[in-house]
């Protein structure tokens, strides 16, 4: 005869499942979708209403370079396929460089290390698992400590700390990155190269592969001498107030 489930036997597993589902949701929030052309992201209305939207311009310069400095090999991987946007405040000089929000997607499949087989390995489940997690996601939630460092009629440059999170292989970690931001209003000089007001963002920071579950055994990794647990990310993004989709239509 089947014994009916008692309340404890039902409630505990259900609560456990709910907690796990909640934790999974908290660990990896939903990603912004790509536009139909795929050259940028759809900006949520909540972000669009916060200020001026600047769109990343992929396909030109190297945007993100990864550096692993291990005894056997100095590995560099680069990508110029980063898509996304950044929202800056509108107002006086300091407010106009206040970052209100943003999101960037770096396709794992776009990382080029100069060796095709190594690029393939990076996408495998053992490393970045590109089939399950096709993008490394940077979410920007704000900024602090903005300070003007250089200025002219044609541009203004600020040092600032960008706040947000980075998601790798489904694991999300909070980050605070010192950065340099240069704003360049549209001019005769810039219009021929890219329409709209331009923005340059430059930053360099380190991440640990163990923090994102890419590597479990740090000691084994270090003893192999081929890849370092500490990866330096060098970021140079150029953005414009005219999205790549709009620029193509013009």
């Amino acid at each position: 005869m089947l014994r009916p489930l008692n309340r404890r036997g039902t409630i505990v597993p259900v609560l456990g499942a709910l907690v796990l589902a909640g934790a999974a949701w908290a660990a990896a929030p939903e990603k912004a979708a790509r536009t139909e052309r795929g050259s940028t992201l759809v900006v949520p209305s909540a972000h669009a209403s916060m200020g001026r939207v600047y769109y990343a311009l992929p396909g030109r310069d190297a945007q993100v370079t990864f550096i692993s400095d291990a005894p056997v090999e100095h590995i560099k991987g680069t990508s110029n396929r980063v898509v996304g946007y950044l929202v800056l405040g509108e107002g006086d000089a300091v407010e106009s460089v206040a970052v209100k929000g943003g999101e960037f997607h770096l396709p794992v499949a776009s990382i080029d290390t100069g060796i095709p087989l190594r690029d393939e390995h990076l996408q495998e489940e053992r490393w970045l698992n590109a089939s399950a997690h096709p993008d490394i996601v940077f979410r920007v939630t704000g900024s602090r400590d903005a300070r003007l460092t250089r200025e002219s009629e044609a541009f203004s440059t600020h040092s600032v700390t960008l706040l947000g999170s980075m998601e790798v292989k489904g694991v999300v970690r909070e980050i605070a990155i010192p950065a340099t931001v240069t704003m360049m209003p549209e001019s005769e000089m810039t219009r021929g190269r890219a329409p709209g007001d331009l923005l340059g963002v430059r930053a360099k920071f380190e991440v640990l592969l163990t923090d994102y579950g890419v590597v479990q055994d740090e000691a084994a990794l270090e003893s192999s001498g081929k890849i370092s647990n500490e990866i330096v990310l060098d970021v140079a993004l150029f953005l414009a107030t005219v999205s790549p989709d709009e620029a193509r239509r013009r």
């Binding site: 396909g59 310069d61 370079t65 060098d234």
Partner: protein, 117 residues
């Protein structure tokens, strides 16, 4: 050991050392890479076809003051210490050295000398 056999062993040893030395010299001359890589024509074509860089617009603005110019991933041949694949990427100091070391071992071994006596 007969003189001709001695001469043969010496020639084998010299050739093996020659290959080893040249492999290491080529490794150092091409940048001392850990893994072998080749010039990627497809990548060069992609880079030639892409839209012009914007980085020069930002020169003199202070954008690169803190970190300098971004390191590029070079697109050129480099002989590595280790192979990086099964095809032409298998060529490396290790795969060049192994046959040479084997030849050195054969040249230096006493095997065969006993048979000559």
């Amino acid at each position: 050991m007969r003189r001709t056999e001695m001469l043969a062993r010496i020639v084998i040893a010299v050739c093996a050392v020659g290959v080893l030395v040249q492999a290491v010299a080529l490794w150092r001359a091409t940048g001392g890479a850990g893994f072998t890589r080749y010039f990627d024509e497809a990548r060069a074509a992609r880079e030639a076809a892409q839209e012009p860089s914007l980085s020069d617009l930002f020169e003199g603005t202070g954008l690169d003051d803190a970190h300098g110019k971004m390191e590029a991933v070079e697109n050129r041949f480099a002989l590595g210490l280790l192979p990086s694949g099964p095809d032409k990427h298998a060529v490396s100091v290790l795969t060049l050295a192994l046959p040479s070391l084997l030849a050195l071992g054969v040249a230096a071994s006493p095997w065969g000398r006993r048979r000559a006596r």
